[in-house]
């Protein structure tokens, strides 16, 4: 049979170069991947990042401390309150302020709401990328409710600028408490229904099980943190390892995966939503009755009405707004469990009105470099699902 075929001595083998991004709907943000494809298989990938680099670290060197808060919430905009709180806690650590329990619990409630909103976007967008649109639209309504709660607390929805150095800007009002209670009552049904739609779905599992896996060793070497590391089987969570803001008061579990693949990431993130709900319920039930801010007038911006009536408040208001407060000389590193990993702030202060140096440890900037290794040999459709499940946020990637 083979004697009838022409003898081929030399086959010209050629790979195709494919630009995935910078503006492709499947990348969920502006970053580029230059893929080399051999037929269906990816043989190499090179990422280009920095399309929305806004020089936050440089900007921070020219701003008083309280003006840096709005920079931080433009990093991971899916869970901006966590970034704000992380920054406040960094400055409080430098100043040596302990804030009252009520403020800490309020922060926990807001941070866990932010984690839910981050994870529900992560999981529902992953479902969209595998072809399931319905679940996404269904949980998006719930994200709106979380944003309504933010709005009730701080007046903003997406870039929240929530909280102050030394506590919260105001107490939860009755409406906020009502909305949180209502969310706690209604959201579990929605999330259960979403998971029922997606988690054991035949098509979804075929697309995600065994796709985009990474071993625990490689994940640690690449500096993975957060959901991606826990999906690979390492139970590292900043909330438990080094509790901040009273996380040690709450009972919750850390879900851990086994294979580090897309499906494990999905399951870990989905389970974390349930754990976050547990934390919020406990925090709401045990909300202490002390003040919502620390009694440190030289650092905590006074209420506006006091500024008009009270001389001390006016002085402190002027000093804080003009960046005239005394900052100690020193350096601190503070970390919080962000939506996608360990979000760190390395702050060097020389006692001036601005930080001498501020470096953000942005979790997705660090773990996204593993992407070419993870997708090596995979198909293009698998690469897209992998990217989606890694929770790469362009704003945080580029800072």
């Amino acid at each position: 049979m083979s004697s009838h075929l022409p003898l081929v001595n030399h086959v010209e083998k050629e790979t195709t170069t494919l630009n995935l991004g910078p503006t492709h709907p499947a990348t969920h943000g502006i970053f580029q991947n230059i893929l080399e494809i051999d037929g269906e298989r990816i043989v190499s990938a090179e990422q280009t990042v920095g399309y929305i680099h806004r020089a936050f670290e440089k900007l921070a060197e020219r701003r008083p401390f309280y003006q840096i808060t709005p920079l931080t919430d433009r990093m991971n905009y899916c869970s901006s309150p966590i970034n704000n709180m992380g920054w406040h806690m960094t400055v409080e650590k430098l100043l040596g302020i302990t804030i009252p329990k009520r403020a800490q619990y309020m922060r926990v409630i807001i941070m866990e709401l932010a984690r839910i909103s981050d994870h529900l976007i992560l999981n529902s967008i992953l479902a969209v990328d595998t072809g399931a649109m319905t679940g996404f639209l269904y949980v998006m309504q719930e994200r709106e409710k979380i944003y309504d709660i933010y709005e009730e607390i701080c007046g903003a929805r997406l870039t929240t600028n929530i909280g102050r150095i030394g506590g919260m800007e105001r107490d939860f009002n009755d409406n906020a408490i009502k909305k949180i209670r209502q969310f706690l009552k209604e959201f579990p049904k929605v999330w259960a229904e979403f998971e029922k739609l997606v988690s054991r779905n035949r098509i979804f599992m075929d697309r995600t099980v065994g796709v985009g896996g990474i071993s625990a060793e490689r994940a640690l070497s690449y500096g993975f943190t957060g959901v991606n590391l826990r999906a690979a089987g390492v139970d590292y969570d900043v909330r438990v390892m080094e509790p901040y803001s009273s996380y040690e008061d709450f009972q919750f579990d850390i879900p851990v995966g086994q294979h580090g693949d897309v499906y494990d990431r999905y399951c870990v993130a989905g389970q974390e939503v349930w754990e976050s709900l547990k934390i919020i319920t406990q925090a709401m039930d045990n909300l202490p009755n002390d003040s919502f801010h620390a009694d440190t007038p030289e650092y905590y911006l006074p209420p506006k009405i006091e500024v008009y009536k009270n001389m001390e408040a006016l002085i402190y208001h002027f000093k804080i707004v003009m960046g005239e407060i005394e900052m100690p000389v020193g350096e601190v590193y503070h970390k919080v469990e962000g939506g996608n990993g360990e979000l760190g702030f390395y702050l060097v202060s020389d006692g001036g009105r601005t930080p001498y140096r501020l470096h953000f440890r942005r979790p997705c900037f660090i773990y996204y470099q593993a992407f070419p290794e993870i997708i090596y040999g995979a198909t293009l459709s698998d690469a897209i699902v992998t990217m989606s499940s890694m929770n790469v946020i362009a704003g945080e990637l580029d800072a």
């Binding site: 060197e61 490689r218 690449y222 500096g223 360990e342 390395y346 470096h359 660090i366 470099q369 593993a370």
Partner: protein, 168 residues
């Protein structure tokens, strides 16, 4: 594993590297170790291998610029984390601005790749042995290293924002 004591950690490091570990302090939230830049890989390797420490997770690399420190204007800061002991350490290596070179950690940590590229991008610190040391967040054509202090954020000719008008 047990808790590591900062003073034992400092003592062991100074005993192991008497010539290259210059000084240690505990002024901030974790142990700061100031060392000679030529020994960075050995120190990190030792902290990795030593069974009672196991600093095997690289949290962060960043640079700092101190224009007033003659001969050691630039500084590379590593944050290492030992998961087994739940302990952190900060290593600092000073570099002269005329010769800002230091060995790369990419052999030990895959994640050091982009962190070092970012540090190069903003401070011009050359990591020897890095597989692909080029700019990452800024455009390739850029000539300056923008996070160095000689590049002011705003127009230096402006006089309305001078510190002396703010009581400084």
């Amino acid at each position: 594993m047990g808790k590591i004591d900062n003073s034992t950690l400092a003592g062991k490091l100074e005993g192991k590297f008497p010539l290259t570990v210059l000084r240690t302090d505990e002024l901030s939230d974790m142990l700061n170790v100031y060392s000679d830049r030529r020994s960075n890989v050995e120190i990190v390797k030792y902290l990795w291998d030593e069974p009672s420490f196991q600093f095997q997770f690289l949290t962060d690399i960043c640079g700092v610029h101190y224009p007033d420190r003659k001969g050691e204007e630039l500084e590379v800061v590593y944050h290492l984390h030992s998961f087994v002991n739940n302990h952190r350490i900060r290593l600092k290596f000073a570099l002269p601005i005329e010769d800002p070179t230091i060995k790369s950690l990419t052999e030990l940590y895959a994640g050091a790749n982009w962190m070092e590229r970012e540090t190069f991008d903003f401070y011009g610190i050359i990591f020897e042995g890095h597989p692909n040391l080029k700019r990452i967040l800024n455009v390739d054509e850029m000539e300056a290293f923008p996070m160095r202090k000689e590049h002011p954020l705003e127009d230096p000719n402006r006089i309305d924002k001078q510190d002396k008008f703010f009581g400084r």
